[in-house]
Amino acid sequence: MNAESLALLLAATLNAGTVVALASLGLIINERAGVLNLGAEGMMLVAAIAGYAASVHTGSDWVGFGAGVLAGAVLAVVFGWLVIWLNTNQYATGLALSLFGAGLSAFAGIAYTQQRLAERPHFAVPGLADVPFLGTAIGHQHPLVYGTIALAAALAWWLTRTRGGLVLRAVGESPESAHALGYPVRRIRLLAVAAGGALCGLAGAYISLVYTPLWVEGMVAGKGWIALALTTFATWRPARVLLGAYLFGGVTMLQFQLQGQGVQIPSQWLTMLPYLATILVLVLISRNPIWIRINMPASLGKPFQP
């Protein structure tokens, strides 16, 4: 593999990793507030079709992204209302959201499988794009790729250095204490859930507008679940989410690279790689229960009743 191929592989990795990173950052906001939303896959699917449809009808990608964000947020709010106010079981409700989202997106998307988006724009960062190797690797990405990196940094800063982040984390660690201090725990959780849903929606729209500019049902193909796994891998820290996401993206692209180079491993084993890698990572991260207990928001998954 020469330098050019490597640079292209890196570029593809960034692209592939952005989807999972965006969703995972949203899920971190959720989980830091103590709510586990297993419905990521469903939200991403509905956002994908919402974004696609919006872009087809208006010709504007940004409207599409907006539609995706809205779709994700709306679904998340429904989920949030159920688990925060009606105190339904978080795992089951999240699963229901995933299954419902899959069905709803397939249904809504029927009319769009034959549709096409407007011509896809080409991006190039002026100056950077022409630098050999580095330019190929990082100079031609969609603005959201850079946006995701900025978002991770911003989120890390917000969580650790601002009052808002502190309150969020407090709600996640001990909602009873936060409640006793007078914070509107349920409202904060709902906001967190909505924000998380919005980011998952953005990730979903990215898939159907940038990653594979088509609509086909089920096109998220498990990335929502990978994003959930990533939050544990990253011990709920935004910067580590990026690392994990790009790792996953890299393994995904690597398996095709290996196929094309005639590596004598059956393609099915290569296709398994990203998922096996995720399991391995989960195992490595989780094996120290004290580490997990220190890092995991203490009230994650547990209902709160004021």
Binding site: S5, T212, L214, Q259
Partner: protein
């Protein structure tokens, strides 16, 4: 989480509920035995055995969605051609996304039960289910695509997609600047391997040094994976892409990267106006019209056909203006040769990847040879997954 109830009360309630529900439903079912206005009546298979005086009822079972712009789309286009050709004499219906395997049996049985007397199954995986239903419904004619088992009332049909692949290859060989072309493969069955080989041979006929790289997505239709596979091929130096998968993802990826690609199964030029060189399409209309005619005129008989350019089932269309005139002329020459039988894609000498001879000089491969191709020809890189 769930309160422990006394089993007895659960059972008691459940029992009464079941009885009540069952009585209500069975009662409703009997009352509404008469067919509704909008619905098609569901008669048992035997009642539909007598050919009714009304229009011929034809049913199509699709494995994918009609909107896939590929395989199923092409079949549906054939169906619409039948409707256009025969007008009032036929009534067609479809079921899409029928999974291959035993689920299909129920769907096909239901189609027969609705009074259809000509049923088309458009994918290999319907073979066993169709055979079973065919055995139970002797008055219904079954047409199975891409299979190999037949019955007195079931025959097979297929298209020589490799001819389209060859012609695409001719264009690819002329248009590649890097000398490497890429194929996004679906599932490593002989049909697809044959297409990869034919594509390569076509390219080599204008550019003997061409190399073909292949990636497998292990699915007929999976746009995200197809995109990743296509991107990977581009990363590895291929600048003209070909596919055996069913969506426009590969073409779109090439469009985004400023490279070239082809459409497959149907005309995909709208999906990648700058990248699109040509589309290798399947036209099922001639066969579907013939099959319908056979049933209408009572001349239907079992067997198997494999149609190509000669019979109008395969074509290469929408050739871009970027393709030089002499290349277009070569493609036309190949097409003419296939039409009048003077040209054969699989004519020796053909060498395998390892250099051994697959076909001796001037020997034309027969259908049996073609059906069992499990090797790559020289010029294709990599290994066939799970090859023996």
């Amino acid at each position: 989480m769930f309160s422990p109830l006394s089993k007895r009360s659960v059972l008691k309630f459940a029992g009464w509920a079941a009885l009540a529900a069952g009585a209500a439903l069975v009662g409703c079912g009997k009352k509404e035995a008469a067919p509704d206005a909008a619905a098609v009546p569901s008669e048992p298979a035997s009642a539909a055995a007598v050919a009714p005086a009304g229009p011929l009822k034809i049913a199509f079972a699709y494995v994918g969605p009609v909107g896939d712009a590929g395989w199923t789309f092409a079949h549906n286009a054939g169906r619409l051609a039948v409707e256009k050709e025969f007008g009032d004499k036929v009534v067609t219906s479809i079921v899409e996304k029928v999974p291959e395997g035993p689920e299909a049996e129920r769907v096909i049985r239901d189609l027969v039960g609705q009074g259809n007397t000509l049923v088309f199954g458009t994918t290999f995986g319907y073979m066993e289910p169709m055979l079973k239903v065919a055995a139970d419904s002797p008055a219904v004619k079954f047409e199975h695509a891409t299979g190999y088992k037949t019955a007195p009332n079931m025959r097979t049909y297929d298209s020589r997609t490799y001819e389209g692949a060859y012609m695409a290859g001719v264009i690819a060989g002329a248009m590649t600047k890097t000398g490497t072309v890429g194929v996004v493969g679906s599932i490593p069955i002989p049909e697809v391997i044959r297409n990869i080989n034919s594509f390569t041979m076509g390219a080599q006929s204008v550019n003997p040094k061409v190399k073909t790289k292949v990636v497998w997505v292990n699915a007929w239709f999976d746009p995200p994976k197809e995109t990743e596979g296509a991107q990977s091929l581009l990363n590895q130096g291929a600048d003209v892409l070909f596919q055996n998968t069913d969506s426009a993802a590969v073409l779109q990826t090439a469009e985004k990267a400023g490279k070239y690609a082809f459409g497959w199964d149907s005309d995909m030029s709208a999906f990648g106006p700058k990248a699109h060189l040509a589309s290798a399409v399947i036209n099922w209309a001639p066969y579907y019209i013939k099959a319908t005619k056979d049933v209408l005129e009572g001349t239907w008989s079992t067997g198997g056909v494999w149609w190509g350019v000669k019979e109008g089932a395969i074509d290469i269309v929408a050739i871009s203006d970027k393709v030089p005139a002499e290349v277009k002329a070569k493609v036309e020459a190949v097409k003419a040769g296939l039409k009048d039988g003077s040209f054969a894609v699989w004519k020796g000498p053909i060498l395998k990847q390892d250099g051994k001879e697959a076909l001796a000089k001037d020997v034309v491969a027969d259908d049996k040879f073609l059906s069992g191709i499990d090797f790559y020809v020289k010029g294709v890189e990599g290994a066939i997954p799970s090859a023996k």
